[in-house]
């Protein structure tokens, strides 16, 4: 994941040297693989992990740094230029297959002047190694690289009946993708359809027919949550991986779609866009946050050292966990939706250890003991042959 230092500064105040920042990132598990100077900015290439989709955006990286340095995260405001109409007056969202799409939000933005992006936006998109397309597409990518939440913009006029139907594809349906490729759809694939036909392969790629272009005035912003396994299977089947599918297949933040939609609408107001009054949010079965019990003595039992209770509380809180002291030495920890990796107590122990610093954990030789259970089988013993050589292929 490419990370721009200037972009990080939108979220936290950085008042320390670059080597110190890089060292900290390395030591909390965000290994900096390379760095590069670019137009007055520094771009870091960070190795992210398959279980941490939240770090696939600048907000997530900034959140980690804030916890590591004990800094507050800056609040960002997203003011809107609104019109009287509600989203639901213009568009209709129906989820037919909520097993594959448990949540779908949309907002309409009218009267946008589609054109090339302003410099600040173009630079940011290009710093991520992407191509600047136009201001609307760049805004959706800006939201993705900022928050790790993928969104999509449709040309509202090209959605037949102003309808959004989230459903499995029907037999024989196909879609021409944004890349001009004809995709044959199968009934396991989730699509976004209008009244008549599929207009996007959900969470993977948009359709050419509904894409935003020069002639577009009104835009429908999609901000949804799709089932990770379904996205992965579809992506594999059609051999397409996009910035969006890469994030959805790892698990998006199901609480975030309304925020991402608002953020996009607010940014589009810079190009004359006026948004509908509220985000239309279809979320038939709202999910509850996971709660995990963390025993303080379990931390020392696994790590081999005593960690201050106060440190544990502070670290988990700054990472966005809600920590409640249930009784002496036992916490009830509510897991935010963006942390799809946290499922057991051991996962929380790792969080504490990460920010305490692996380097501060002592090194001890385990108590003496000898395991005599195994004798390697004959075949892997290295027998010297007549010429004095040992075979490698054993």
């Amino acid at each position: 994941m490419k990370v721009s230092l200037n972009w990080i500064k939108d979220y936290i105040k950085i008042s320390f040297s670059l080597p110190r920042l890089i060292d900290k990132l390395d030591m909390i598990g965000l290994l900096v693989e390379s760095r590069e100077e670019r137009e007055g900015d520094i771009i870091l290439d960070i190795e992210t992990h398959a279980n941490r989709p939240d770090t696939l955006g600048h907000l997530g990286i900034a959140r980690e740094l804030a916890a590591a340095f004990g800094l507050p995260l800056k609040e960002q405001k997203w003011p809107l230029a609104e019109i009287e109409q509600k989203t639901s007056d213009i568009a209709d969202i129906q989820i037919w297959d909520d097993d594959l799409c448990p949540r779908y939000c949309g907002i309409v933005v009218r009267d946008i002047q589609v054109g090339p992006s302003p410099d600040w936006l173009r630079k940011k998109i290009e710093a991520m190694g992407s191509k600047s397309v136009n201001n609307v597409v760049d805004v959706t990518n800006y939201v993705l690289f900022s928050t790790a939440h993928p969104i999509h913009a449709f040309d509202l006029d090209k959605l037949a009946g102003g309808k959004i139907i989230v459903r499995r594809a029907k037999k024989g349906e196909s879609l021409k993708s944004l890349d001009g490729e004809d995709i044959r759809l199968t009934s396991e694939m989730l699509v976004i359809a209008d009244k008549v036909k599929p207009v996007a392969l959900a969470g993977v790629i948009g359709g050419e027919g509904s894409a935003v272009g020069e002639e577009t005035h009104d835009v429908f912003i999609e901000s949804a949550y799709f089932d990770p396994v379904s996205i992965r299977k579809t992506g594999k089947k059609v051999s397409i991986q996009t910035d969006a599918s890469y994030r959805f297949e790892r698990g998006a933040d199901i609480s975030f779609p309304p925020h991402a939609a608002l953020m996009a609408a607010s940014l589009l107001s810079q190009f004359g866009g006026k948004s509908t009054k509220e985000v239309l949010d279809v979320y038939p079965k709202p999910r509850k946050n996971k709660t995990i019990v963390l025993r303080h003595n379990r931390i020392s039992k696994l790590l081999g050292l005593e960690i201050d209770e106060d440190f544990t509380f502070r670290t988990l809180s700054s990472l966005g966990f809600q920590v409640e002291n249930q009784q002496q030495g036992v916490w009830q920890v509510k897991i935010p939706f963006f942390r799809v990796d946290i499922e057991r107590e051991a996962d929380l122990v790792e969080e504490v250890a990460r920010f305490y610093g692996y380097e501060k954990i002592p090194a001890e030789i385990p108590p003496p003991g000898r395991d005599r259970t195994h004798k390697r089988s004959e075949k892997s013993e290295n027998k010297q042959d007549a010429t004095g050589s040992l075979p490698l292929w054993i």
Partner: protein
């Protein structure tokens, strides 16, 4: 055999046939004894002499047979005759082939060098690593190179269809069978059979769907370790691996543990050593890429789900596991720039290491 070969009073065909057989047998015995031209000449006279040869006498005996048996008997004698002639001819040829003489060896030719083999560097290095762990009380286990999806992934807490699998590019044999991508399945096989305390290492070949380049190979050697017991901690993991690395590199090296992700460990750590080539001082170092550190081990506390999968209670027992690429580590230890050298089997390369 009591029959007399030279009897003169035969009168029936049956006896005549037997007589021919006897002569053939006797000739065979004698012909095997022939060593030189002289004995060859004697043998020829004995059988083929026109005056007193055995065959002459046989022809004479034809008279004693009934007229209708004569042609058949004549054929038999001629058959024996041509057999004897052929054998004698071929022996004569052999005796005539001249032997090589010393004069034909060209003493001015340079001598032929005999290449003695040497232990392969990867084998040597593996043994070096094994020795260190054996002194720490580990025993050596092994397992199959063809694995099922369950042992390679499922039991190790990889959810089906999870992108985490992308980090282990897999060569599948069928939907369920694959070439193991790491030695970790051995952990599971050992824990299924053995209850704690467990203290093993398991070296072996592993396979990845990767094109060979200086730092990647489609097949390489890995060594994995596992310790499970009561009260095993992350501090023990650090202590064990620090001792191991400092012993292996036989010098003061800087080591760092940094958080990482493996589905089968939690917390997880990657272990880096400071670049053995530039010591972190060369921004353009080709070995460490200028970052000053080289990743050398993956490790972590055994994931509670993995313990549950093998019916070990994670509340009572804990453990740590680690793994390293033997070839990759040998690269750093011997300061070799390209991992492919290990498998090109150039004796000039391979033989150097036995001297170390």
């Amino acid at each position: 055999m009591a029959r007399k070969i030279k009897g003169r009073t035969l009168s029936n065909m049956k006896d005549f046939k037997l007589k021919i057989e006897d002569y053939k047998g006797a000739f065979r015995k004698s012909v095997a004894q022939v060593k030189d031209k002289k004995s060859l000449h004697e043998l020829r006279n004995l059988y083929l002499s026109r005056k007193r040869g055995h065959l002459r006498l046989l022809f004479d005996e034809l008279k004693t047979l009934k007229p209708d048996e004569k042609p058949k008997a004549g054929q038999l004698i001629n058959g024996l005759k041509s057999y004897i002639q052929k054998r004698l001819q071929s022996i004569e040829k052999k005796l005539q082939t001249p032997k090589k003489t010393l004069k034909e060896i060209d003493l001015t030719l340079p001598g032929r060098e005999r290449y003695w083999g040497a232990p392969h560097p990867v084998v040597l290095f593996q043994e070096e690593i094994e020795k260190i762990f054996l002194t720490m009380g580990f025993s050596i286990a092994d397992g199959p190179e063809i694995e099922t999806d369950y042992y390679n992934f499922g039991a190790l807490n990889f959810p089906p269809h999870h992108p985490a699998r992308d980090d282990w590019d897999t060569l599948y044999i069928s939907d369920d069978l694959l070439l193991r991508t790491h030695t970790s399945p051995v952990q599971i096989r050992v824990m299924e059979k053995q209850k704690p305390p467990i203290r093993i290492i398991n070296p072996g070949k592993v396979f990845r769907k990767e094109a060979p380049d200086p730092t990647h190979l489609p097949m390489f050697f890995q060594l994995e370790g596992l310790v499970v017991d009561r009260d095993i901690t992350f501090a023990h993991l650090k202590g064990t691996l620090e001792y191991f690395l400092k012993t292996l590199f036989q010098e003061k090296i800087n080591i760092r543990f940094r958080p990482a992700f493996f589905p089968f460990t939690e917390p997880s750590a990657e272990v880096d050593i400071e670049c053995t080539v530039c010591k972190g001082k060369n921004k353009n170092c080709r070995v460490c890429g200028g970052e000053g550190w080289m990743e050398i081990l993956g490790s972590g506390m055994v994931d509670p789900q993995v313990l549950k999968n093998v019916n070990i209670d994670p509340e009572q027992y804990s453990g740590f596991a680690f793994g390293l690429g033997i070839d990759r580590t040998a690269m750093f230890a011997y300061e070799i720039q390209d991992m492919r050298y290990f498998y090109e089997n150039d004796l000039r390369f391979i033989r150097q290491f036995a001297l170390k």
